[in-house]
Symmetry: C2
Subunit: 616 residues, 2 copies
Amino acid sequence: MADFTITFLPSRESVSAAADTTLLDAAAAAGLPLEAPCGGQGRCGKCLVKAAAGLSEPTDIERRVLSPSQVGEGWRLACQARVTGEAEVLVPYSSRAFKPTVLIEGAAREIEVEPNVRKQSFRLPRPSKDDARADLTRVMDAIGEGPLPPARLAPVRDLPRLLRSNAYHVTAVVAGGRLVTVEPGDTCDEAYGLAVDVGTTTVVAYLCHLPSGELAAVASDLNSQAQYGDDVISRIHAATSSEEDLLGLSSAVVTVLNDLVERATHKAGIPATAIYEIAVVGNTCMTHLFLGVPPAGLGRVPFVPSFRAGQTVRAADLGISVNPAASVYVTPCIGGFVGADSVGVILASELYRSGGPRAAVDIGTNGEIILASGGEIYACSTAAGPAFEGATISAGMRASVGAIDAVHIEDDVRYRVIGDARPRGICGSALVDAIAELVRVGVIADSGRMVGPQEADSLPEKVGRRLVENENGTEFVLATADEGYGGEAITLTARDVREAQLAKAAIYGGIELMLEQVGAAPDDLDELLLAGAFGNYIRRESALAIGLIPSVPMERIRSIGNAAGVGARLLLCSVSERVRAEELARRVKHVELAEREGFYDRFADAMMLRPLPAEG
Amino acid sequence: MADFTITFLPSRESVSAAADTTLLDAAAAAGLPLEAPCGGQGRCGKCLVKAAAGLSEPTDIERRVLSPSQVGEGWRLACQARVTGEAEVLVPYSSRAFKPTVLIEGAAREIEVEPNVRKQSFRLPRPSKDDARADLTRVMDAIGEGPLPPARLAPVRDLPRLLRSNAYHVTAVVAGGRLVTVEPGDTCDEAYGLAVDVGTTTVVAYLCHLPSGELAAVASDLNSQAQYGDDVISRIHAATSSEEDLLGLSSAVVTVLNDLVERATHKAGIPATAIYEIAVVGNTCMTHLFLGVPPAGLGRVPFVPSFRAGQTVRAADLGISVNPAASVYVTPCIGGFVGADSVGVILASELYRSGGPRAAVDIGTNGEIILASGGEIYACSTAAGPAFEGATISAGMRASVGAIDAVHIEDDVRYRVIGDARPRGICGSALVDAIAELVRVGVIADSGRMVGPQEADSLPEKVGRRLVENENGTEFVLATADEGYGGEAITLTARDVREAQLAKAAIYGGIELMLEQVGAAPDDLDELLLAGAFGNYIRRESALAIGLIPSVPMERIRSIGNAAGVGARLLLCSVSERVRAEELARRVKHVELAEREGFYDRFADAMMLRPLPAEG
């Protein structure tokens, strides 16, 4: 018998099929399995497809299951229709048993793309005497969703004219099973979403093509809430003291986001109205301020968030300039200082999978530590302070052009500058490097004390000459005034070392207490994951040398990049991940470090600049 | 043993109970049965009540089921707590197995009051180390609803400050299981809803107290959409020809409604913000225009509505000035010309109950006929035109002060005027009376022809003298110029008789065709219900005499008042009735009279002014 080419729409996958093959079999052969819960017996009506030619006549079974108007429009049951010639076959979303998958860089695995927002286009039958269904019913029937009513009035208002002025050829946009808008013609491919990581310092927006889950553009900027204070405590204070400041904090981040929308959509060459959904992660304070919710309980013990579950709100209500029908999903948080960003880290790192103890550390202004062990997940926050982000270090700066980002000492200091520029300051990874190297060569004792110039004799000569004493106390010159941008030397002060010590003690002490919680020692850790931008750039050797992280074999330490941002992308592209996020937020056990017995002792011990714990 | 008085709050029902009686039993004795699906074994935790004193100490079972903070706050399981003294016991809504009932005038029965919107007040436990639940979680747990998230962002934003500035004593407003707003203190009794009947000519608003279902005030006004045309056809034309007119039609009815809100709340002495929900009925065109949805498919065959299912939208989005959290429920319609008002008629008349054939006729500009028979319900609309509302009758007017509303002829004409004023015109009921009487005395033949003055000889002398001939043709003087307001005579013209004939033929023909649909004769009707204002005032004898309605024994004809308005009240006060309404809208079979064979013949036969059908 002859073979015919069957092309499946909208993907245009094609397959060669022998005459008399059912479309159900042909689709499976093309790698596009269809829904067929009844086993292809023509009872369930789930394998609905549409074709104009190339198929056998509708069977009695089809005439029973389908309405006369459906038959008239070319709708078929794929399990009944058989190949008789070349055919183009439209497979609606609801009939597909396959979903595309995507690998999001930084995520541990491929995920099935199943966005909350999806588009379906239809050429609907026109009303007739036998089919006087309401306009809305006509569309809802075609979508084939449950009886959920439209989320907004707009599509109900737009529909009557849209249908009639476009020959009943329209695209329905469905979010969470509800019709949110209708567009003329077929716009299925123009469907984007934005995954946003609202950091205390930086906001990053990932523009994703929803049907494929692929990244179309990235844009980032500083969080302009910084005008209200660098850390969350100042912002909580501002937001709860004055209604005006709450509004100011909220609109600051919305303004940044609108700018990122503009830049990302410009890069991708699409209109902002092609964005139909936004998924947001951030620490608890950030998600509260983003929604304009006063973080009234976050300012004092017992650090009560105002909301914990994920919130879905209209983008327009927040003043975000994307499609008017778009909604914003704000990821749930775990506790007062363990936010939606930690949920993102858990999703990206798959810490929820069972196995030996595994920990993830996100080193930011608020360090978050997540420990999975024996089927339980624990999370805590630790007030590391912004030292590793450069804020409390005299020559500290962010990891941008001009920042010293690596330091090595042999006979003298060697450093690397981002962008091959003259150095302007040092960023977090270089701070850890510098301290580790200075401890190694003896400039800094493991107690954190910096030796004075008068004690320089035991040091390599060129290193010793870099110690200076001035009105600020002892300083170590990393880059001389000759080398520095604008003729300024870059120095590390004794005080800088103390700041770094406090920060690292908060992180190390937190990890140790969390491990004790599950009766494990650092060496029991199967894996130690470092999240966040800092986690990406830090030299593991230096971090281990100064006891910022516990001594585990190097191969068990892994950087997982901006895991919070990856989590946001997972949440944008997959409703299953959203369900998981909501479950996680309820399930993860929130540990309040400050309430743990021995926390302050542990913290004091962790101040030591050497590999920790002291005896392996 | 001693007996103690137990008082249940908030209703303050009290009962005398012997010492050691469980509160579960005491509540049942007071006529307030509580939820106890576990049979009072302390397992389900559903019989939660709260009391400060007069009860036994919490049992081990209670300490297991309740949280320490609940126990501390005085929460008890009614099945475990035993009477030891006088006690005041708060029974939250969620623990009650009883619901109040209300008899809505015009409805066939008492209904259980179970409004979609309800309020619950709480004195919540404050956050503590052992209870660091999020603010929103704290409230949602107290509401005890499922996991439905809040419908709006506003309560999430308001909650943190409301809780802290009111000692955690707040009232939650829940609509459809979702938190819509939070108020300080206990405002449970201040909960109102508005049931609205948007008629083509008149808008009526019923202000109801939601917890009791009782009527607090009524206000009505003309529908100012009339500036776009008196009938729905003109308004459909306007709304679909111009976007401006669509907006104008929509805002016209919103303006009227806002005015009615102001008047009704003023009468009841409450603020407009005490209204938390609005339920709207109206014909299909009215509900479309109310929502600003273009009735694009209603202007021509096959009369496709834009939506059919009930729609819930924010009142604020429609510009209605009630509580900002309020929503508007627009009742589903059955078909293009059988609207939400007909759903209201079916609910109010309980036509959905099985039994012999029963019909309801709502005589308005669009007459709607609903027939229930053998478990099926059929509905049709019939273009009666506005004759019975006075619009196409030369001296026609609405049933207001100055309208002749009843006519009787013996030796001469006797009439009654509304408000004991000088007559200005005649309303529908008098039109039917006048024609019936003039046919009886021979002024009008049963073909509808009015005799000329020259044929007056066979008439009673004073009656005959009232026949005049002028440039408009023959007229019959009902009230002379001496009697009429402003010296104007009130006459019935030959042409008026033709208009009334057309209107009544449309109604009678419709009823007859509907009966044929189920193989029944008029005499088979168990009941014939007349709905609408006209149905209330019409004299059944006159209606039967001219064949406006089929000849059935008088006792089977019953006026059911403004059944559409009653339906709106049922839908406001009972979610069960809403479920029923949605089912009815899907289930009722919509009959297009014009498509029925023999419709026009039937219509012509029904023009005869005599009891119909011709032979009983």
